[in-house]
Symmetry: C2
Subunit: 332 residues, 2 copies
C-alpha cells in the first residue's frame, strides 16, 4: 500500500471482491435493477416483529450470502466492517451478532458502503485480515420514523426528498482474481451550510466534488479514464450540483451515474429526487455494478458513496448538514 498525493492510497496486492450479495424489499423488486438482486422480500417486516429487526435481517442475509458466494465460512472472515443509519448502528449489531466474526462498527451515514469496502480492502492489503467483509443496510420505514415523521401521519414529501432504500449489500474481500480494489480516497468532512433535511443531495454534493477532485489530482487521471463513475445517492438535485461544481473546478464530469437514480424508475415509482440510504449504493454496487463488471461490461470504475453526517438533534439545534464522500477505484 502506497500513499499517492495527499489523500489517496494505491494498493499493490489489490484485494479482490470474492463474493458479494444484494438483498432488497418490495419497492426494489419493482425497480429496474430487480434482476440484479440475490434475494428480494415482498413484505417490509421480513417476518420480524419490527422494522428495525427486519433491517437487521437484511444484513444477516446479505452478509451470509456474500460469505457463501465467496466459498468461505464465517470463521474464515477475520474482520467485518459494518454500519448503518439507525441510532447506535443497531441494524449492524443485531444483524451480525450471531456471525461470531471480529466486528468493527463504522459510521459514515450513506457513505458506509464505500467506507466499509475501503476498510476491508485496507485490512486485506496489509495482511491484517486474510478475508474481510463490508456490509451495510437501510430500511425505508426505520429511517422515516427515526429521521422524519411516523409513517402513519402520511406527511407530504418535498420534491427534493429522496427515498430510503430497503436494502442491504455485502462484499467479501481477499487476495484473488476478479473485481479488484486499486485505489481508495478517504474523504474529508465538507460543510457548505445547507440546513434543509429534505435536501440531502445538496448537502452531500460539495463533499462528493472534493473527494473526486482529490482523487483525480492525486492519481493524475480524469473522468474519461474510467468506464463509469458511480456516486452514491446524490439524486437529481445533488447530481446537478455535483456537475456544476466539477465544471467550476475545470474537471467536467462525464460517464457519471448515480446509484440513487439507477435503483428506481422515477417516472413510475414516486421516489421524488431518487433513492438514498446506506442500502441504496450498497445494493447497487453489490448487485448491479459488480455483476456488470463480472460480465465484462465495465472494466474500470469509480465507486464513491456520499453521506450526510447529521442527526435530528443537530438539525433541531440549528446546525448545518456536513457531508462526506469516500471513493474506491475498482478494476477487473
Amino acid at each position: 500500500m502506497k500513499r499517492v498525493g495527499q489523500y489517496t492510497l494505491r494498493f499493490e496486492r489489490c484485494p479482490a471482491i470474492l463474493g458479494h450479495a444484494a438483498v432488497g424489499g418490495k419497492k426494489e423488486s419493482e425497480g429496474p435493477l430487480a434482476p440484479d438482486f440475490d434475494q428480494l422480500f415482498s413484505d417490509s417486516y421480513l417476518n420480524q416483529e419490527s422494522w428495525e429487526k427486519a433491517e437487521s435481517r437484511l444484513q444477516t442475509e446479505s452478509a451470509s450470502l456474500a460469505i457463501r458466494k465467496a466459498g468461505l465460512r464465517n470463521t474464515d472472515i477475520h474482520m467485518i466492517f459494518a454500519g448503518d443509519l439507525l441510532n447506535q448502528c443497531i441494524s449492524s449489531t443485531f444483524g451480525l451478532r450471531n456471525l461470531n466474526i471480529p466486528y468493527l462498527g463504522q459510521y459514515g451515514a450513506c457513505s458506509t458502503m464505500a467506507q466499509t469496502l475501503a476498510m476491508a480492502a485496507m485490512a486485506v492489503e496489509s495482511g491484517a485480515a486474510t478475508y474481510a467483509a463490508a456490509v451495510t443496510s437501510s430500511h425505508f420505514c426505520t429511517a422515516e420514523r427515526q429521521f422524519r415523521t411516523p409513517l402513519e401521519y402520511g406527511a407530504q414529501r418535498a420534491p427534493t426528498a429522496q427515498w430510503t432504500a430497503t436494502a442491504s449489500g455485502a462484499a467479501v474481500l481477499g487476495i484473488g482474481t476478479g473485481v479488484r480494489v486499486c485505489h481508495v480516497t478517504v474523504g474529508r468532512i465538507k460543510d457548505l451550510g445547507v440546513t434543509d433535511m429534505a435536501n440531502m443531495g445538496a448537502a452531500m454534493a460539495p463533499a462528493a466534488a472534493q473527494t473526486l477532485l482529490d482523487f483525480f489530482a492525486d492519481t493524475s487521471t480524469a473522468p474519461e479514464d474510467y468506464d463509469a463513475i458511480y456516486t452514491g445517492d446524490l439524486g437529481t438535485v445533488g447530481t446537478e450540483l455535483l456537475h456544476a461544481l466539477m465544471r467550476e473546478n475545470g474537471v467536467p464530469l462525464s460517464r457519471h451515474k448515480d446509484c440513487g437514480l439507477l435503483l428506481y424508475d422515477r417516472d413510475r415509482q414516486d421516489v421524488h429526487a431518487g433513492g438514498s440510504g446506506c442500502g441504496c449504493s450498497a445494493c447497487v454496487l453489490c448487485g448491479h455494478i459488480l455483476n456488470a463488471m463480472e460480465r465484462g461490461e465495465e472494466k474500470n470504475i469509480l465507486f464513491m458513496a456520499t453521506g450526510a453526517l447529521m442527526s435530528t438533534t443537530s438539525s433541531q439545534q440549528g446546525e448545518s448538514i456536513p457531508g462526506i464522500a469516500h471513493l474506491v477505484h475498482l478494476s477487473v
Copy 2:
C-alpha cells in the same frame, strides 16, 4: 503486521503514540485523576449553546492538543478515526469538522477508544497513513437525555448504574519512540441476554472475558506477564463478573484496574457503580495511563475498552444488550 492465532494482530513496526491529550469536565476535575488532564472545564456547556455542542468542543480540544503535542499540524494527519455515543456520532462529526483531516467515523459505543486506537495503529503499521489520530468523547448531560431521562426529572439512579464521563481523549500515532502498540485483538459481539439498561457492566463483562481469553490464547501469555490490565468501564458490577468469568475459564485475573473505577472517588463523588461513556476510558488512557507509562512506572500493559451495542429503540423492543471489547497491547 502478522496474524497470531485466530483473533490477534502482532505489529512489526509497532506504531508509537506521539501525542496524546485528555480533556474533562467539572466532576472529572474533582476526581483523583485531575492532575493527569491537559484541560479541565468547570462548566458543562463549555461556552456553547447546548450540551451536544459542548461535547463536540471536547473533541475539538483533545484532538487539536494531541496533534500539537505530537509536534504536528492537521495537514500531517492522514486519517482520523473517531466516534461517540450520540445518535449518528454527531459529537465527532461536528467536533472534528473544521480540522480538514480525512475522516473515518467509528461506532463501538464505550469501546471506541480501543477501536479507534487499533484502527489508527493498523493504518500507520501498514503505511496507509504516516500519522493517524484516534479520538472519542462522552458527556454526562447528552448521554442522560438521549439514553435515559431528561436531567430535569431528577430520576433516581439504580445502584448498578454508572456515571457517564464528561471527557474526551485523543492520541496521534506514527512511527517513532515512546509508548508503542504491539498487538491488537478485535472483539466479537457477545450477548448473554442481559436486558437491564441500568446495568451495562454486566452486559459488557462477557465480551471482555472473551477478548481477554482470545488474546492470552493467541499470544501464549498470561495476566502476570503485564504490569497492568486496564478495562474500560466495567464498574463494580462488571468487574466482579469479569473476575468470576476469568476464574471459571482457568485464567484468574490479576493486576486488573478498571478505568470506570479510577476516574472518580466513589466514596465522595456519588457515581454509584463507577464511571462510563466513551470519554471515560479515553481520558484515563490519554491522561493517566500514558503519563504513567511515559514516566516509566508501567512498561507493558493491556488496554481493553468495552462497549454495549444497544439503542433506546432496541431496548424498548425487548432486545438484549450485546457487548463488545477490543484490546490493545501497549509497551514502552
